[in-house]
Structure formats: C-alpha cells, structure tokens
Amino acid sequence: MNTHALLVGLAAVLFCMGLAGVMIRRNVLAVIMSLEIMLNAVVLSFVTAATQSQTIEGAAMTLFIYVAATCEIALAMALVVLLVRRHGSLDVAAEQELKG
C-alpha cells in the first residue's frame, strides 16, 4: 500500500469523522470544529492528488479553500454569538424554530 492511497484513505476517514461530528455533536463549537475537519480532509485529498500528479493546481486550490474557510469561520463565530445571546446556550438543538 503506497503513501498516496494511505493519505486518500486518511482523508476519507477524516471526512467521515467530521460529518459524523456535524450530525451528532450538540455543542455548536464542536459542530464548527467538525466542519473544519471535513474541510481539512478535502484539503488533504487535494494536496495528495497534487503530489501524485506533480502539478500545482491542487496545491493552489488549498490556498483558496483556506481563504473560504477563514470567511466561514468569521461568519460562524458571529452565528455562535447570536445563538448564545438568544438562548444563553451553545446547544444547536435550542434553535429549532424553522419547522414545517
């Protein structure tokens, strides 16, 4: 088993862990951290692909993803602050008003 396959497998595992965290964890900060794990799993697969094919695009994409991730975190923090203000808790389940 070569390094690249190992790294892609690791990325898949990380992605699934992150997804599970997003779906299961109740603490909003934990959910956001899980989101970051998912993002990094994607980044890892990009970098792996870039090294394997000896091209620059994958590595370049990483930079874009980090820019997007930074913006996302800024927004997420604002959301967290709002959530705490409205409900006084970090529980995502507290915000369940949008239902059909």
């Binding site: 997804l19 997003v22 779906m23 995502v92 389940a93 915000e95 369940q96 949008l98 239902k99 059909g100």
Partner: protein, 637 residues
C-alpha cells in the same frame, strides 16, 4: 410601415394613449388624440382610395405570418380593393365625424377618456374586419367589434339594465360567431384556404357539392345575422340602444351592424355558386326588412324606432346581396350610413337637449325650440323614406328594382320590400310628427333647461345632412342614368369586384320607371298616413294606442325575446340548476378537486415531518442525498 397598415393602427394608438394615460390628461388633449388619429386614418384611406380609383391595383400588405403548418398557412395580411375601400371610407369618415360629435355630447361625462379609448378601439377592430385579407383576420376584427360594442353599450355600467343589454348583445353575437367559425372550418376543409380572393376563385372554378355549398352559405348567413341583427338573431339591437347615442350612430347604425352585409359582399364569388344559400339570404333579408318595419311602427322610444329602422334597412341590404346585387347592397349600405348616422345624431341632440328623455310621448313641437336639429332630422328622414333627390331614394330604388327584376326576384319579393318601405315612411314621419311637430308635451321643468346642440354637434349634423342629400348622386339607377346621360361612378368602382347583377328575361326599362313611380307614391302615402294619424294627435290619443292584442304582439317584438328567454335561457337554466348543479357537479368536484386535494395534503403532511427545524437533521438529509448520488454515479459508472 405601409400606409395601409397605418390605417387600422392609428386608432389603436389612440386607444392605447387614451386608455392608459387619458384620465390624467386634460380633456382637450383627450379630444384631440381621440379625433385626430381617426381623422388621419381617414386621410390615408382617401389617399389609398384615389390611388385605387385612378387605376391602381388592389393592395395587399402582409404584416407577419400568423401560422405556418403543412397545408395550412395564414398570413396576418390586409387587403384593400374597391369593396374594402368603400367600407373603409365609411368607417373612418363617419367614424371621425362621430368622434367630433362626441366631444359635445359627452363633455360632461366622468369617464370621458374611457369613452374615447373605447371608440378608438372600436375603429381599430372595425378596420381590421374590413381590411382583413382572409377570414381569420376578419374574425379577429369581428370579435373585436363585438367586444367594443359590449363595452360601449354597457358604458354607463352602474345601471344594471345597460350592462345587461351589453351582455345580451355579446351573447347573441356569439351564436352568429359560431356560424362564422363553422363556415370558416368548412371553407378551409374544402378550399384549403381562408383567403377571400382564393376562396372566391376556387369556388368559381370548382364548386363543391350543392349541399356543402348551401351549408357553408347558411353558416355564413348565420354569422352575418348575428352581427347585422337579422331575424332570428335580431333581439340584441333594440336593447343596444342603452349605450350613448353617438355609439348607437357609429356602431349600431353606420358601421358594425353592416359588417354582415360586408361579409356577404366579400364572399360574392362563393355565393354566386350557391343559389340555394342565396335564396335563404334573400328571404331572411326580406323578412327582417318587413318585420323590423312593423316593430318600428309600435315603438314610443325615439332611439328604438331608429334601431328597428336600421334592422329593416339592413334587411334590404341583405336581400340585395341574396339577389346577387352585391353592388346595390353596398350602395345602400353607403347611403344608409350617412342618413342613419345623421338621424341618430339628431336624435342624440334631442335627447341631450331634453336631458335624457327618450319617450316621444314626452316630446312634441320641438321644431320651434330646436329648429336646426329639426331641419337635419327631416332631411335625413326624407332620405330614409326614399324620396328623390335624397340619397336613400337611389339606393333603395335599386334594391326594389332588383327584388323585381333579378333572377331570384319576384313580384312577391318586391311587394314585401315595398311594404317595408311604405312602413318606413310611415314610422319615420310618425317619429317626426311626435317629436318635432304637434302638441307640446315636454315636461315644464325639462323645457326650461332645454338647450341647442353645441358647436361640434351642429357642425357634424350639418355635414351629415348634406351627405344625406347628395351621397346618392354617384349611383343613379340604370334607367335614370340613361335618361340623364350620366354615369354611376359608384357602380363603376365596385362592380369589378362584386360583379354586375344579372336581370331576368323580359324585364324592361318601362317597368323600372313604373316601379320607381310606385315607390315614390308609396313613400308619399306613408307620410300622409302618418300625418293623418299622428300629425293631429292629442295627448289622449297617445295614451290609448289602437290595435289591441295585435299591437301588443308587434310592440313586444312578436315575443321573440320572451321565447328566447323561456325556451333557450330557461331550458339551459333548468338543466344547469337540476342536472348539472345537483348531479354532475358534486361528483365531478369530488373526483377532480377533493380527491387530488386530499392526496396532496396527505403527501405534504408526511414531508412536513422531515422539516423539523433541527439543523443537524438537515445535514443528515444532505449527507444521505450525497451518498445516493455517489452510489448512483458508481453503479452507473
């Protein structure tokens, strides 16, 4: 854009401007836009007319291809030949005059701009009807004038009687429209085209089976009956008098109601190959001329007298078409447009002066108070009565002559038409005596506020009265023409299109002179009788009309209205109430509405449970969807 296309489009522009921004414009602007655009249309028509008269070819303008299917192509095209030119001139010319008259007549109305917008809309559709080069374009105009007529009859829509009259006109017209459409389908089926020129040429070369020809002819006649208020679809016209009087003059006397005659004349090449259908046309026209005149005798409402008179005169035109004398029918259409518009507008001046009083029993001796109106009304009445040298004499005489001398004519037909003319003289002078002469029966408070027509109204009346005198001189009857050594420019102009009516064997000029003399004598007799009965009438004589049950029968339009009300409307109403409302509708509603609605609601409830507001559940759905898509991609590979 070609001149021909501009003719109908200018009034449409007027409709758009006045309809959209009219209520916010000053009244003078509305009047200007409303009158100037039709006037411009008239100028363009005149220009095209002169080009055509001086040897120009008939014009065709294709605006766009409306539909192009294999074996069925319809162009949205306009066609301008002699027949269309005559009609177009009448529509734009008299239309413009009536617009100008309306400035005075409607000056105090709240919906002044709406009125002018509708009137312009009417002109647009009427011109489309006249200029359409095929049945489909004509049908658009045909329906459009029906719409405009409906809007204008019910113009004062706060009065339920008036809106009901508008609806009645529209609904009765739909019956005729059905005939028109079926005829168009049959024509397309047999001739493979809807273009007038091609249809006429096709049937001239290869007539279909006689039964088919008769069927198409009768269906076209039904269409014409609806629009032209011929028996049995005449019931809407008297009620249509609920609209403003200039509207009655324009739509229900001069132009729209003659569309049926125009249709028959347009299809002349077809009709000449369908002798049985022509026979039906002849007798429907003759019957309408006769019964319309009898109903005219019994009316007290001034406008309704004129309405029945219109019906009767159009009956004569239809009869002329049925005899193959399309040019005579068109000539009467042309002279009738002038003097009937003049009569209606003069009646409008009377109504305006009397603040809406329409009952002739409350008029009388108005000649002294409204001398000018009396003069023009009298001139137009003489024209309608058919005394020489007024316009109506020449056109009506030609039709009466055809009723005797055409191959389809007979002494009986001539007698029916002459009886109608005699009654016309009688009821028109009855109206003159009751309205303008005799004893003064005007209510005192109305008499105090009585006023002469305004400047615009006076001008228009004067022009139309002059036309009522002179319009007939361009189409003198044959024997008169020979005697005077002149020509008949009208017939020379239209007969290349309509053809020249054939005569029976063995009729001579001396007979024509004799019949002409009889017609004049009958008119004079009618006038004298009217004077005898009504010229010396007192209030008491008017309160108790003679005639008893017969009179009631005629005055109520032979109870045709009641028959339709009970027979047709009542039956449909009964079926709707019992079978449809109680039987079919609940079942249909259960199957087609309640069932799908319940199903959709149940489905919606199950999906609503998914949308529970928990963000993480949504993430879960997204993840599942992603997995499904990935799985799908892998499996389809």
């Amino acid at each position: 854009m070609s001149t021909l296309a501009l003719v109908p489009l200018l009034p449409l522009l007027g409709f758009l401007v006045n309809g959209i921004v009219g209520p916010r414009l000053p009244k003078a602007w509305v009047s200007f836009i409303g009158c100037a655009l039709p006037a411009l249309s008239f100028v363009l028509t005149a220009q095209l007319f002169f080009e055509l008269r001086d040897g120009g070819e008939p014009l065709t303008t294709t605006l766009f291809t409306w539909a192009a299917l294999p074996g069925f192509t319809v162009e949205a095209a306009l066609y301008f030949d002699a027949v269309a030119a005559v009609m177009c001139g009448i529509v734009t010319g008299i239309g413009t005059l009536i617009h100008i008259y309306s400035i005075g007549y409607m000056h105090g109305d709240r919906s002044y701009a709406r009125y002018f917008a509708y009137l312009n809309l009417f002109l647009f559709f009427m011109l489309l009807l006249v200029l359409g080069s095929n049945l489909l374009v004509m049908f658009v105009g045909w329906e459009g004038v029906g719409l405009a007529s409906y809007l204008l009859i019910g113009f004062w829509f706060t009065d339920p009687v008036k809106t009901a009259a508008g609806i009645k006109a529209f609904v009765v017209n739909r019956v005729g429209d059905a005939g028109f459409l079926l005829a168009a389908f049959l024509l397309q089926w047999h001739a493979g085209t809807l273009d007038f020129q091609q249809i006429n040429a096709f049937f001239a070369a290869t007539p279909a089976a006689p039964a088919v020809m008769t069927a198409i002819g009768v269906l076209l006649l039904i269409g014409a009956c609806g629009k032209s208020a011929q028996i049995p679809l005449h019931v809407w016209l008297p009620d249509a008098m609920a609209g403003p009087t200039p509207v009655s003059a324009l739509i229900h006397a001069a132009t729209m109601v003659t569309a049926g005659v125009y249709l028959l004349a347009r299809m002349n090449g077809f009709f000449l190959q369908a002798p049985d259908a022509l026979m039906v046309v002849t007798w429907v026209g003759a019957a309408t001329a006769f019964f319309g005149a009898t109903m005219g005798i019994t009316q007290w409402n001034l406008k309704k007298v004129l309405a029945y008179s219109t019906m009767s005169q159009i009956g004569l035109m239809v009869m002329a078409c049925g005899l193959g004398a399309f040019s005579a029918g068109l000539f009467h259409l042309y002279t009738h447009a002038f003097f009937k518009a003049c009569l209606f507008l003069a009646a409008g001046a009377v109504l305006h002066a009397l603040h809406g009083e329409e009952d002739m029993r409350n008029m009388g001796a108005l000649a002294r108070r409204l001398p000018f109106t009396f003069a023009v009304f009298l001139v137009a009445t003489l024209a309608l009565t058919g005394l020489p040298p007024f316009a109506g004499f020449f056109s009506k005489d030609e039709i009466l002559w055809m009723a005797w001398a055409a191959p389809g004519g007979s002494p009986l037909l001539w007698a029916v038409a002459s009886a109608a003319s005699f009654m016309t003289a009688f009821y028109m002078f009855r109206a003159v005596f009751l309205t303008f002469l005799g004893g003064d029966r005007v209510a005192p408070d109305v008499a105090r506020k009585l006023h002469a027509p305004s400047l615009t109204m006076t001008l228009v009346l004067a022009v139309l009265a002059l036309d009522s005198i002179a319009a007939g001189w361009i189409g003198l009857p044959g024997s008169l023409r020979e005697w005077l050594g002149t020509t008949a420019p009208f017939y020379a102009f239209v007969e290349p299109v309509t053809g020249h009516a054939a005569l029976r064997e063995g009729v001579s000029h001396s007979t024509e002179w004799l019949l002409m003399g009889v017609a004049v004598l009958l008119a004079v007799a009618g006038i004298t009788l009217a004077w005898w009965v009504y010229g010396r009438a007192h209030r008491s004589a008017l309160a108790q009309p003679r005639g008893g049950a017969l009179r009631d029968w005629v005055a109520n339009g032979y109870y045709v209205d009641a028959l339709y009300e009970r027979g047709v409307v009542g039956t449909l109403d009964g079926v709707s109430r019992t079978l449809l409302t109680r039987g079919i509708e609940p079942a249909l509603a259960a199957i087609s509405i309640a069932l799908p609605a319940r199903g959709a609601a149940a489905l919606a409830r199950s999906f609503a449970r998914l949308q529970n507001g928990a963000v993480q559940a949504y993430v879960f759905y997204a993840a599942v969807a992603l997995l499904v898509m990935l799985g799908w991609g892998v499996l389809r590979g």
